[in-house]
Subunit: 374 residues, 4 copies
């Protein structure tokens, strides 16, 4: 693991997610750029001192040399520290699980893309919401025509944790997420907008071709957007909207997707992830429940326990780790991975996310003019 030392949030999530299905063991790490914190974190995590590195570069080099070196590394640093370590590990032949968004600039992203292409190692990007069973089910249902051809896609991701200038208080998460040097050009757009964008494309299989975005930093002094409103145009004439916000009081983590087609609609909300509402036009809406009647194999693959026993964020996150383990194993064994394990987002989704951020920022700077997503 690179990053995720004391005081971090997402590092702990990755560790639990990797552990739930017992396919990973944490044996080495460069947990912090601060040597003391790196050492202390390693101790907390029962990582042997000789594998607690002071830098990711040292870690990549040394682990690649060890016969028992790590097979997979998780990169859980702030955005500006994604690309370089990822490239180093990929070059060293070590598989990479990288937190989203891909990185902080389009240039860094392109360098990383080249490294992924050149390496025999695999690359996964934790757009973790794609790990929810009913998100996968929704994707399959759209593909199979359950709602006909999509016409309208509404996706939103409101939060409220940055309603006040939390970054001024020294809170670590708020500090780097509102800092262009560490986050990149997008604030809420990069942090959560990319999740919403990814979810819409993942479920519908459609690509956003153009967007018109109105980004705002509502909190005085904030340097990055904390709210974004967008019109979306998808390939084939489908249209939509995307709203993400970190200043919407009462919303904790309100990612929600609605897709309406010629023959029906689908609705899913992250805070009640075990329910997928399917409304065939002209029939009563049905509440599909994870593990319950109407569950598809894609959902069952991503399910651990029976319906009615809530699964949540950690299990969805774990699904990416579990599927990636199968991909790694298949690669090691020289065989094709089980297709049900191949829905894990990777470099392509990462590049689209970067282009999404760039287009949103450019559009907003041009007063919400339409911008194409290549």
């Amino acid at each position: 693991m690179v990053g995720g030392g004391q005081g971090a949030f997402i590092g702990a999530v990755h560790r639990i997610a990797a552990r739930i299905d017992d396919r990973y063991e944490l044996v080495a790490g460069a947990f912090s750029s601060d040597p003391d914190r790196a050492r202390a974190s390693a101790r907390d995590l029962h990582v042997a001192p000789d594998r607690a590195y002071e830098s990711w570069l040292e870690m990549a080099t040394r682990e690649a040399e060890r016969p028992d070196g790590v097979e997979v590394v998780a990169i859980v640093t702030p955005n500006h520290m994604h690309a370089e370590p990822a490239i180093a590990f990929l070059n060293a032949g070590i598989h990479v699980v990288c937190d989203k968004p891909l990185c902080h600039t389009l240039e860094a992203a392109q360098a990383l893309e080249r490294a992924v292409t050149a390496s025999r190692a695999l690359f996964a990007l934790t757009h973790n919401y794609t790990g929810y069973p009913l998100v996968r089910q929704a994707r399959g249902m759209v593909a199979e025509g359950a709602i006909g051809a999509p016409r309208v896609i509404q996706v939103e991701y409101p939060q409220d944790w940055l309603t006040m200038p939390l970054e001024s208080s020294g809170q670590k998460q708020a500090a780097w997420r509102t800092d262009p040097a560490r986050s990149g050009a997008g604030g809420s757009v990069g942090d959560i907008g990319t999740h919403a964008f990814n979810l819409a494309e993942f479920v519908t299989g459609l690509r956003v071709e153009a967007l018109a975005a109105d980004l705002t930093a509502f909190v005085p002094g904030r340097r990055l957007d904390d709210n974004a409103h967008m019109l979306l145009r998808f390939a084939g004439g489908t249209r939509g909207m995307l709203w993400c916000s970190q200043v919407a009081p009462g919303n904790e983590n309100g990612l929600r997707l609605r897709v309406y087609g010629t023959r029906g609609g689908l609705e899913w909300a992250q805070e009640q992830p075990d329910i997928l509402v399917h409304a065939p036009f002209g029939e009563a809406p049905r509440m599909l429940r994870r593990g319950g009647a109407g569950t598809t194999p894609a959902a069952t693959h991503a399910t651990r326990i029976p319906s009615g026993h809530p699964e949540g964020y950690l299990e969805a996150f774990a699904q990416l780790y579990r599927d990636f383990a199968e991909q790694v194993l298949a690669a090691q064994e020289g065989r094709t991975a089980d297709p049900s394990c191949c829905l894990v987002p990777g470099i392509e989704e990462g590049m689209r996310g970067m282009r999404f951020i760039a287009a949103a920022v450019a559009s907003s700077q041009a007063d919400a003019a339409w911008m194409a997503l290549a």
Copy 2:
């Protein structure tokens, strides 16, 4: 009543709404342009034959002459037949309750505006959702600062009844609502978008200054938009989005407003009108219920029965009629009306609705360029 003969929908709603609080009696009408249907409708409605008119013009003239002529007329025809009868009755000194939107063209609207200004008779526009007790409460709470200064306003109004080309089936409601000659330039924008727009302005007291709209007619052959996506900019820097759709399967009448300010949020949905969620930032969200704890006088004024006994669409609609009766009575008695009865939308809201439709259509024709609302 003008319009509302056999086969109509909104006419019956107006009649029930007027009756609930026992402030109106139906004694005359021009129920249909078809004389047979007009007569038959009058018979159904127990209106005396000599007051069942064949035209609204005759009705306005003759009722104005009678010593016991109608005091108030309700105009419930399709949009293109709003302005002329309304002007005729206003000129005859008869108070007018008019269904929304104001009419079908900006020119007709301006003529009507002049008539309202010139007449001593009063004019009400049935943006009926403003009659819900908790909508009025929300308005008061925003005004009193319960959520601080509004930053973000999300309003949406999805339906699904036009998912298929219903107008081809001869269904009367669908036929005129998708016909530019009778509806005006806006389809979903005029029919339900105006409600959403009105609700956002009513509750927040803020005015939309500019919008960027993407209108679509998804159903092949349809001549007016059946879906609209918009970015909104309000006075003072507040931003928002508006979505209305008649092709979103699973949605019946999903008008929903969310307002987020510097210190809290408010959420209200028309299909559960007896609940208003208030989320003060940093506190647990509260479910305010009509008639329950935390109800304001503005809500109590619009409430008939105790909390837990659901009130609905008809009671909210009736509230406009009840309040308008007090206005009429006050005018007749030469006194100032009770302020709590003065929230009924009128010509100003009607004109704003017309400008909203015009701006949305113009913006969409200009590829979602920003259009100002005067």
Copy 3:
């Protein structure tokens, strides 16, 4: 109308309910036993002075003599004043709509039952929750086997308005509802338990054969139960529970019925009356919505406006009045009433409610021993 003067609650509900469908006009009343209040109430309600009576007896006598005397009377007094006036009007050949429960003692109920049998006038009891469209739909679905044979019936009706000793404050509603002399032997059991009991029997068509009840008066000094817990045994082996409470904080009017059969389940809650959840065993639950897909003729009959436009308590109440009007008209015209109008509860349901109260009180006095309902 008998009762329903100034300060009353249910009288106003009856008046609106009678008015909504324009089948009744209020022309006479004995609104209060206090002559001043009776007169003032009549004035408020636009009832002519010569038809504002000081007593129900006078009203029954005089109205029966008038050629334009009332055809139907609504009795909306406290329970102990139901039977005598009802008998007087029935004897005078005037149709009666009586508020529930039937009355305050079994003896009075039996006298009333005899009067109903002897009279050619009709009798309706306002178990108003049976007027909800989806309650009628549920009844039809059970009858047609949509859930197979019922096994388990859970019905509950929690409120919170008597959590504190409100009767000590002089509040009129609380005062008579907690007074055995005016309410009868049941407190919450009589006031709301009878509604729950009636709803369970109405929807399932099954009869409670025996019950074991544990009644409590939690508020110190209260003379009647404010909470009741019961085990129920229905004909044919179906079992259930009934809970009613007026001391359950957070509950406003939480009547809720769940029925589970060999092949499916049904759930309905009064505070969201426009939704009926139907869960066929082994399939995803469906949300049936009033007026939406899957609506039965019985529900459509009781519906006024399209789905998505909430109907509520007043409309459901009005349905009983509307249906009763058709029964009265049919009787006057010497024809059979439309069967869809014949679901209005009457004397039989009233007698069952009285026996339910008696059994519950007797069971509780015998430490929750089983008591049969004849």
Copy 4:
């Protein structure tokens, strides 16, 4: 681990729960009474062949002898195989985590109770629903008087998976759960009724003193109850009801608790575990959310990730394992365990559950007569 071999359900849950917080490693097991299945299961779970035992007795003996023997054993067999292995491990000084209910007969339970008392090893019973953060919060809030003195407790636990005679199909879970020899005298009462009972006592701190139960086996041929209705009397005059069912179509795992006191109410439902509704009497209900505003230290202790990121069944289950690890560690280190880790149910709760089952069965056999719980 004892039990939990291939084909089992709860064994896998225990393994994930133990792993999430990285405090346990699975190193030995007697996974099945079938030697082949035991071996295969061990292989699947990466347990060394020499620590994959053919019997729990052998495992207890041999592991106790090893210097690196297990510190804790999880017993996840059917009910009739809980007590004997638990006693063996306790006698061997190995800490025990045992699935609920405690066992299948009161006699076995008493033997186990003696073993727990005699042993220096610790004993935990996985009433896993007590591990939910908001369940712990509710317990604390009741203790601190947030709702005043409890008056009414409604607890229910409906499921639907035994609506049909699934046990006849050979389904393993259904087979032993409906078999008196393996489950004991209670069917739904033992399997899920004990959870509901435990939850009610855990949250309120009150003890059921007497119950009157009506148990039914609705499915023809079923030997144990699949539905139970009960009246409850708690110490101090609090009253309640308990309903559990495995034949209620549409219900997956509907454990739900409502507690109403003199000053407020609390509601929690297992299928939406991240919400706790608190209704102070006379105020608007508040939606407390895990990790959000109003969270107590007891809830925070049991929380892993921020609010809005759903936690579920596995995390709640894991909480018992995590807390028990601290208890074990404290015991090993000769210190007092952190009090926040001492809410894990143990032998006392297990014994109460056994008495609850016995009382329910006895009451039902006596036609729902009151039975005391010692």
